[in-house]
């Protein structure tokens, strides 16, 4: 029997009805409570978060690309330019549905020879925002662009946008100095030192492009737009215009640079040409070298592999990051340091008997027969080793190290506008203790005083002390940057010579050193006579740096040694001797004697400096193999 049968005609409320209504009403209240609680959670608790998410929905933040600054040489000729490249854009709404998209991808793939499946895969990712033109292909070349443009009538929804691409005027011109661009790495992006950059942006990876990247890059603009759910742009909310990058005027002289690269030829080595009056670097060549054009629009992986696997490291800028024992060229530095310390005077005479005995070891002079009594002038002219052994012994390694660091900026990079610049190595007792946990031996001082042993210097540093000797004792910061100009060419900043040190030395002492260097080239019996230039008095110093001290190779003739054990050839010179205006430093790796091999190279560069008609357009081959030359017939 049922408990309740509804209200009866007598109007009496049935026993169960109140109960049922009670529960109905409480169910109602419970349902409304749940709804209100949910709304409270969504709108009050999480309201701020959802508001932000909805703002992300309808606003679109875009960055407006800016133009990278140009790089020019000292006479204003453009070295690195921005050229147009083409981006293929596609607006999915205008294309139609998935099938039309597939057909379009196949057609485009067929016309310009790309993979249609890959194109279609990219196309599908654009379809959520069908009104927005998306970059389908970022790297169309002119031919592809023409092919697509002529078929544009049959290819709806496509458009081509012009964008800019970095293009050096010549791929072979000073690739180490100029450098190339590459995509910014994830680590750098996260490092926070590149605000405003995002994945896929290009930054300088070497050379000036890298070290001056923040100047060249400029600032991207920003634009905040409202969009609807289909991606149609509706309204601009706020924007900030892009700031173009600064143009850079380098101190490089294009003609000298070309000459420097040409005279290096297929040999591994470096040439630095510097103005001793203000330490402007006029040319900086390093060989073997690479083609900058390989890097425009991204370097291919095979090319990159061949460059990084090359045993001669064509990407290394030997002029600033190659560290070599400077050999006898270091005698310029030692003589000035010793004169300043008062250890010797120009008139001090040491006897060279072909060697110096220290304990039971004889440190030999290059001339086994000995030079006899040698003063400063002769020691430089004939490059007597015993004279400098004795000087170094009297000076001591610590005093020598302190003076060469102070006078010539050795042992540290001076900031020649390239981040690849390295400091070389000036050893002293403390360094030895730290590095080898062993005390310094006097026997180690003697090789250092003739530029061997632990001592290492870059070609730029050799050019530095040559320039200090040339200008009478002033060390300045060598630099590559001459002017910073804005987009219209107005000078924003002119780089002034920056004096680091002046040697407090009697001028006649310096003059004596300069006389000795002049004799190297001009006197009979001088070691560097092959660098002589007709019509100009040149001063210079040769250097032949031993790579290996193994006894077994000491008796060998030069040709008998393997390539990598042959001596480095140095030559550093300045001209004119009376009023120097150019310093040329040449290093040839594993090429034998400095006077015979590096000297003529330096001579050619000096000749080109004084004869403005000398020029060349023929460049040596990229990635040359110096151990087996191909017989490059470059003419000067």
């Amino acid at each position: 029997m049922a408990e309740w049968t509804g209200p009866s005609d007598d109007g009496k409320a049935a026993p169960g009805e109140t109960f049922r209504l009670f529960w109905l009403h409480w169910t109602l209240i419970a349902a409304f409570t749940v709804i209100v609680a949910r709304l409270w959670f969504l709108q009050v608790d999480m309201g701020e978060e959802y508001r932000q998410k909805s703002e992300v929905n309808y606003t679109r933040f875009t960055r407006i690309p800016t133009t990278r600054g140009l790089i020019k040489d000292r006479s204003g000729r453009t070295l690195v330019d921005n050229t147009v490249s083409y981006e293929l854009l596609v607006t999915p709404k205008e294309v139609g549905g998935a099938e039309e998209g597939k057909a379009l991808a196949e057609e485009v793939g067929r016309v310009i020879g790309r993979d249609p499946a890959e194109l279609y895969r990219r196309f599908r990712t654009f379809r959520r925002q069908p009104y927005e033109a998306a970059v389908w292909l970022p790297d169309l070349d002119r031919a592809d662009m023409t092919l697509l443009e002529t078929r544009r009538y049959g290819l709806p929804g496509l458009s081509v946008r012009v964008s800019s691409m970095r293009k050096p005027v010549s791929g072979s011109f000073a690739p180490h100095v100029i450098g190339y661009l590459g995509e910014i790495s994830q680590a750098r992006l996260e490092g926070g030192r590149y605000p405003g950059l995002s994945q896929g942006d290009l930054i300088g990876q070497s050379g000036i492009e890298q070290s001056m990247d923040s100047l060249l890059r400029g600032e991207k603009g920003t634009r905040l737009m409202t969009v609807d759910s289909k991606g149609r742009l509706l309204e601009e909310l706020e924007s900030e215009y892009p700031v173009p990058g600064r143009n850079l005027v380098l101190t490089l002289d294009s003609r000298l640079q070309r000459v420097a690269q040409a005279v290096l030829g297929e040999k591994a080595g470096a040439v630095v040409v510097m103005d001793p009056r203000n330490f402007e670097i006029l040319a900086m060549a390093s060989s073997p070298y690479f083609d900058l054009d390989d890097f425009t629009g991204g370097v291919s992986s095979e090319r990159w592999k061949s460059l990084t696997d090359d045993p001669f490291h064509p990407m290394e800028n030997r002029a600033v990051s190659g560290q070599y024992p400077p050999g006898s060229t270091f005698k310029i530095a030692v003589s000035l340091a010793a004169l300043a310390e008062g250890v010797i005077t120009p008139e001090t005479v040491f006897h060279c008997g072909g060697g110096l005995r220290l304990g039971d070891h004889i440190f030999g002079c290059w001339n086994r027969r000995g030079h006899g009594g040698v003063n400063l002038y002769r020691s430089l002219k004939e490059s007597c080793d015993v004279y400098y052994y004795e000087t170094g012994r009297r000076l001591g390694v610590d005093r020598m190290a302190r003076r060469v660091r102070q006078f010539f900026g050795l042992g540290r990079p001076l900031g020649a506008d390239l981040s690849a610049e390295r400091g070389g190595l000036v050893p002293d007792q403390e360094w030895k203790l730290r590095r080898f946990k062993a005390p310094w031996n006097l026997g180690e001082t003697l090789p250092v005083s003739i530029g061997q042993g632990y001592l290492l210097a870059t070609p730029l540093q050799v050019a530095q002390y040559t320039a200090v000797a040339a200008n009478g004792g002033t060390l300045m910061r060598p630099h590559l940057l001459r002017e910073i100009t804005d987009l219209e060419g107005r000078v924003v900043e002119r780089v002034e010579p920056e004096v680091i040190n002046r040697i407090d030395l009697r001028p006649d002492y310096v003059e004596k050193v300069r006389k000795g260097l002049e004799a190297v080239v001009n006197d009979p019996g001088g070691t560097g006579r092959r660098a002589a230039v007709p019509g100009v008095r040149v001063s210079g110093k040769t250097g032949t740096a031993q790579v290996v001290s193994l006894k077994r190779y000491q008796g060998y003739s030069r040709g008998g040694r393997p390539y990598r054990y042959q001596d480095h050839a140095w030559y550093t010179a300045y001209a004119p001797s009376e009023d120097p205006e150019v310093v040329v430093t040449v290093l040839l790796e594993h090429s034998g004697s400095g006077g015979a091999n590096a000297g003529p190279v330096a001579g050619k560069v000096l000749a080109a400096y004084f004869d403005k008609s000398v020029d060349t357009t023929v460049m040596p081959p990229f990635q040359a193999r110096p151990d087996r030359p191909t017989g490059w017939k470059g003419e000067l």
């Binding site: 509804g6 349902a31 508001r51 909805s54």
Partner: protein, 465 residues
């Protein structure tokens, strides 16, 4: 009880029993819907012709006129047409099965003379009317639901539910089931039936979840994989950003971004820029929540609460069993649609295509909602037809009448029955059931107004002194 079937008539007592809170809250909801739709129409102007707001305004006007007409007709006429209506509804559903128009992967619509029509919409009130008629039939009224009487209404409910499920339209099928539930529960159940239903439910659930019934249902295409997927997606919408989850993510963003005071009229960016799917129909509440915030939502929900409580009051006071069940079914219809829709847009329930009654755009939906409200009003208004005791809506007038009767020596109306709980004469709170509906249940004793507490209720059996 025999009442002469005079369906259209007017009586002063009709207005005395008119539930103003119910009528006004229904109209208020329709106005909220129109305001919301106006903002949406502004941002999505029609390509030609009348905007959605304009159409809805016309429907609203027409609907209110239709309701006024319907109020004049005695609702008991429905008892007679219940079976034919149900028959038509089932017939239309069968026609959908064979001649229906397929849209969006489901066969739900009928094209009749360029007018697209969804028979499942029609089925909802038809089912409610049929169940009310059935449960108020003499057999059911006397015995309640027993093992013998239960199968007929159960089968009659499952037929349309099954047909709608086959379209497939999981949402509307569920809605039909949920709507019928309170009608079944309001009836008296015999103990044997309770046990049988509990056992059956336990068996079905264990079969589905424990003994591979789900795979069977999927294999036989009784449940479609996408329906299952929708339920699964609901549990984690963020995992399916581009698919089904998209709608619910955008809806939640819209609601959440409204915060407390809302973004302001026509400033809802989710709605304006098209991120919110179907802002005029299914997700109308999300659009409203975005522009009017928590405060606006609470106002709308308060209107629904007023409406449903008034409807429950009508159920409570109705003396006709058919009217009781019908009012209950119609309120259940409004409540279920509202609850499912709001739960859906706030991410508590899977996305099903059920509009928000009164608020969502759509002529049929609005018309059905307004007529349902009118039906409840109608039932409430005709309460007097079943009273055997005088119901005093206006106590002063009643007292005056009593005084006149005494003076003129007219014998006072004698009650035939002793006063029962819920009688307005005994518990005067019930005389104003529409004003504070919660008073009936919360603190009933203390909430009695002082002037009523001071004077003891009159004993109707004794003539007034």
């Amino acid at each position: 009880m025999t009442v002469k079937a005079k369906y259209v008539s007017f009586d002063r007592r009709l207005l005395e029993n008119f539930s103003w809170p119910l009528a006004l809250s229904a109209l208020g909801l329709a106005v909220c819907g129109l305001v919301n739709l106006y903002s949406i129409s502004l941002s999505h102007p029609p390509e030609s012709g009348l905007s959605e707001f304009g159409k809805q305004l016309l429907f609203c006007g027409g609907g209110v006129a239709l309701c006024l007409a319907a109020l004049c007709v005695d609702y008991r006429i429905l008892k007679r047409v219940a079976l034919p209506l149900f028959g038509i509804g089932v017939g239309l559903l069968l026609m959908v099965e064979f001649f229906g128009v397929v849209a969006g992967g489901a066969r739900r619509w009928l094209d009749i003379a360029s007018f697209r029509f969804q028979p499942s919409e029609f089925m909802k009130p038809a089912l409610v009317i049929l169940l009310a008629a059935l449960f108020s039939a003499k057999e059911f009224a006397k015995k309640g639901l027993t093992l013998a009487t239960f199968p007929l209404p159960a089968v009659l409910t499952l037929v349309p539910v099954g047909l709608v499920l086959k379209e497939p339209d999981l949402g509307t099928a569920g809605l039909l089931g949920f709507t019928a539930l309170p009608i079944f529960l309001y009836a008296a159940w015999s103990r044997a039936l309770k046990l049988a239903v509990a056992a059956l439910a336990a068996a079905a659930l264990s079969w589905i979840f424990l003994f591979g019934g789900l795979d069977f249902l999927l294999a036989k295409e009784i449940i479609h994989p996408y329906q299952l997927e929708r339920v699964l997606t609901h549990s984690n919408p963020e995992e399916d950003y581009n698919g089904k989850g998209w709608q619910i993510i955008q809806s939640k963003r819209a609601i959440g971004s409204g915060q407390i005071l809302g973004r302001g009229f026509h400033d809802g960016t989710q709605q304006k820029y098209g991120f919110l799917p179907a802002p005029n129909t299914d997700f109308a509440f999300a659009a409203l929540a975005e522009e009017w915030g928590f405060v606006g939502c609470c106002a709308v929900i308060a209107l629904y609460y007023t409406l449903l409580c008034s409807a429950l009051g009508v159920v409570r006071r109705c003396r006709d069993l058919f009217g009781k069940y019908l009012a209950l079914g119609l309120s259940s219809l409004i409540f279920c649609q509202m609850a499912i829709n709001i739960a859906m847009v706030t991410g508590l329930f899977p996305v099903v295509g059920i509009p928000l009654p009164f608020v969502s755009y759509g002529g049929t939906s609005l018309l059905v909602s307004l007529l349902a409200a009118a039906g409840i009003l109608n039932i409430g208004m005709r309460r007097y037809l079943f009273q055997d005791a005088t119901v005093i809506e206006n106590r002063k007038a009643w007292e005056e009448g009593q005084a006149i009767a005494l003076k003129e020596r007219i014998p006072a109306v004698r009650r035939l029955t002793p006063p029962a709980e819920g009688e307005p004469d005994v518990f005067p709170d019930y005389r104003r059931p529409h004003v504070k509906p919660w008073l009936k249940y919360v603190g009933r004793r203390s909430a009695v107004r002082p002037y009523l507490r001071d004077s003891p209720p009159p004993d109707p059996r004794q003539p007034l002194q």
